[in-house]
């Protein structure tokens, strides 16, 4: 592009001053382009660095037993993080079941119906929740569910905490993408005699689908890595447990426990568990995208 401009320009502009201006403009152009390209490269580099480093440190811990066995007491060699993998999947699954519908529903309300005072209040509260540190959410759920309603630590309490963290993320991203759907599609649908609720479900949501999924995946990734609220709610568990109403292991908690220990073997295991957590989150977003593929109204 730049070479083209320099070869063509002299023919068009012969006056010295114009050429001088052009040269400085091209210089600034190159400088700024270089700057933003560096920024982009930096962002990608950080991500790659984290990924590569976790793989390098975590890979030695990975073996078949690490995926299938339960953690062993300190001093014993071997063992794995299988209960934590199962726990994370169950807790996140339950959290998504609670948080995603509420989040999408709130987003639909705000984008399609919400006008006036109540909508303003809802939006304000959602922003407020998004700003609450996750440990405070954990303390809240601990006080409400762990201390009062259920009476002990449980995976379900962890799910509730994660759902609370997911809701504002889902709501804000989905509201944003719903607003991006041009009104002309809503009008086209309404003008066909389609009721508004059906227009939203069959036209607006499918049109905004990729954005909606991005919001859901983003919220799951964020919630999947939360440690503090799970320490206060799911607690962790050294044994296999599929009961959401009992204390449950989870990968972030497992990573934390391994990482704060004084043993080198456990540090390696912490890296291994971190690598698995990345894989689990990646897998979940992959599955979400696969499951929701295809056109809005299904095939012919």
């Amino acid at each position: 592009m730049a070479t083209q401009a320099t070869t063509v320009a002299p023919k068009l502009f012969t006056r010295q001053s114009i050429r001088g201006q052009q040269r400085s403009r091209q210089l600034v152009d190159k400088l700024m382009t270089g700057l933003i390209t560096t920024c982009a490269a930096l962002a990608v580099a950080m991500l790659l660095f984290i990924l590569v480093y976790v793989i390098i440190r975590g890979a030695p811990a990975l073996n078949f037993a690490f995926f299938t066995e339960r953690p062993l007491p300190m001093g014993e060699v071997g063992g794995g993080v299988a209960p934590a993998i199962i726990g994370t999947l169950l807790i996140m699954g339950a959290a998504a079941l609670m948080g995603v519908p509420v989040g999408i529903g709130t987003a639909i309300y705000l984008a399609e119906y919400g006008r006036g005072r109540f909508a303003t209040i809802v939006r304000f509260v959602i922003d407020l929740i998004a700003g609450v540190p996750s440990i405070v959410v954990g303390v809240f759920v601990w006080a409400l569910l762990v201390r009062q309603v259920i009476g002990h630590f449980s995976g379900f309490a962890g799910s509730v905490a994660l759902a609370i963290i997911m809701i504002p993320i889902v709501t804000r991203t989905v509201e944003e993408v719903l607003r991006l759907v041009p009104d002309m599609y809503r009008e086209a649908s309404l003008a066909l005699g389609v009721p508004q609720w059906k227009t939203i479900i069959a036209i607006v949501l499918p049109t905004a689908k990729s954005g909606v999924i991005t919001g859901v995946v983003l919220s799951m990734a964020r919630a999947g890595g939360e440690t503090a609220p799970l320490l206060l709610t799911a607690l962790g568990n050294q044994f296999f447990s599929f009961d959401l109403f009992q204390p449950m292991a989870a990968l972030p908690v497992q990573i934390y426990n391994y990482a704060v220990s004084p043993y080198d073997d456990w540090h390696t295991k912490a890296w291994g568990a971190a690598l698995i957590l990345i894989m689990v989150v990646g897998l979940l977003s992959f599955i979400t995208r696969q499951v929701t593929r295809g056109r809005g109204l299904g095939g012919r």
């Binding site: 309404l190 005699g193 389609v194 049109t207 056109r295 809005g296 109204l297």
Partner: protein
């Protein structure tokens, strides 16, 4: 062929002023009496407290093309959007008065806007096929969203509607492609097919050609003349030549002092363009303002 002169002139960007109108049909067929398909009585439309339409009354004949012309902001679009109750979709919008479609007041208290829109089709300014649906899915979108899933029937309706919209030959091999992959003119005809698939009594067109190039415009105009056999068509247009080319009757609107749209003159297209009764109509069609 009688329009060939205008067609060519338009495509070359020449202006024809004052507009010479070749009368489309003989006066008798135009004036043949038939029951009105749409009767608008003392219609007032509001956006919040702003009045956009001031006491508009007119009768639209069945199986004819009625053009609504006038300068920007004179309430043309508002008028047609009141005829299928799309006006009230805008926040704060409301309307008063009566609009009778086939004798029924669509503004009656027990009238359901969803049912009204089901029976009155609409084509918009910008082609708006649903982006995540294929050509085929777009045509039958209204029926499928109504819960009809009989594949055979849907296929029949799709083909018939696409043929009627003069699009079948162009898209019959790409029915499963995205509707957004078609050209602008094809997209607009797809939208017309989507509207007529519902077999509406009235077809409203809100400046259907304003986003299209001249060739696509001519195709839509030819189509409108054909659809006139089966539907009652009301078309809003900025383009006076277009009104002259496609319509049987023309309504001319203007803003009053309070910027509310008023119906100034309404009559056969030939009369409006050759012998306007109102000075303002004459001024507008001869290009003195607007």
């Amino acid at each position: 062929m009688r329009n060939a002169r205008y067609t060519k002139a338009n495509m070359m960007g020449e202006e024809i002023r004052p507009i010479m109108v070749t009368v489309r049909e003989s006066e008798e067929t135009l004036e043949a009496p038939s029951a009105p398909a749409v009767t608008v009585e003392h219609l007032n439309a509001y956006y919040g407290t702003f009045r956009a339409l001031n006491d508009v009354s007119l009768e639209i004949r069945a199986r004819s093309v009625t053009a609504v012309i006038g300068p920007s902001g004179c309430g043309k679009s508002t008028l047609v959007r009141c005829i299928n109750r799309m006006h009230e979709v805008a926040p704060g919008a409301s309307a008063s008065g009566r609009v009778l479609v086939s004798g029924e007041d669509i503004y009656a208290p027990d009238s359901d806007p969803v049912q009204v829109r089901r029976h009155i089709g609409m084509v918009f300014q910008k082609p708006n096929p649903f982006p995540m649906m294929s050509v085929w899915q777009n045509v039958v979108a209204g029926l499928r969203l109504e819960g009809i899933s009989d594949k055979k029937r849907l296929e029949e309706v799709a083909e018939r509607s696409l043929r009627k919209a003069a699009l079948w030959d162009e898209v019959k091999d790409k029915l499963h492609m995205s509707g957004a992959a078609l050209s602008g003119g094809q997209q607009q005809r797809l939208c017309i097919a989507r509207a007529i698939a519902m077999e509406p009594e009235v077809l409203l067109m809100d400046e259907p050609c304003s986003a299209l190039d001249p060739v696509a415009t001519i195709k839509i105009e030819d189509l409108i003349r054909e659809l006139r056999e089966s539907f009652t068509i009301i078309i809003v247009t900025h383009n006076m030549q277009q009104a002259a080319r496609v319509s049987d009757r023309t309504a001319f609107m203007l803003m009053d002092e309070e910027r509310a749209g008023q119906l100034i003159e309404y009559g056969s297209t030939a009369q409006i363009f050759t012998n306007p009764q109102d000075k303002r109509t004459e001024g507008y069609i001869t290009g003195r303002f607007g």
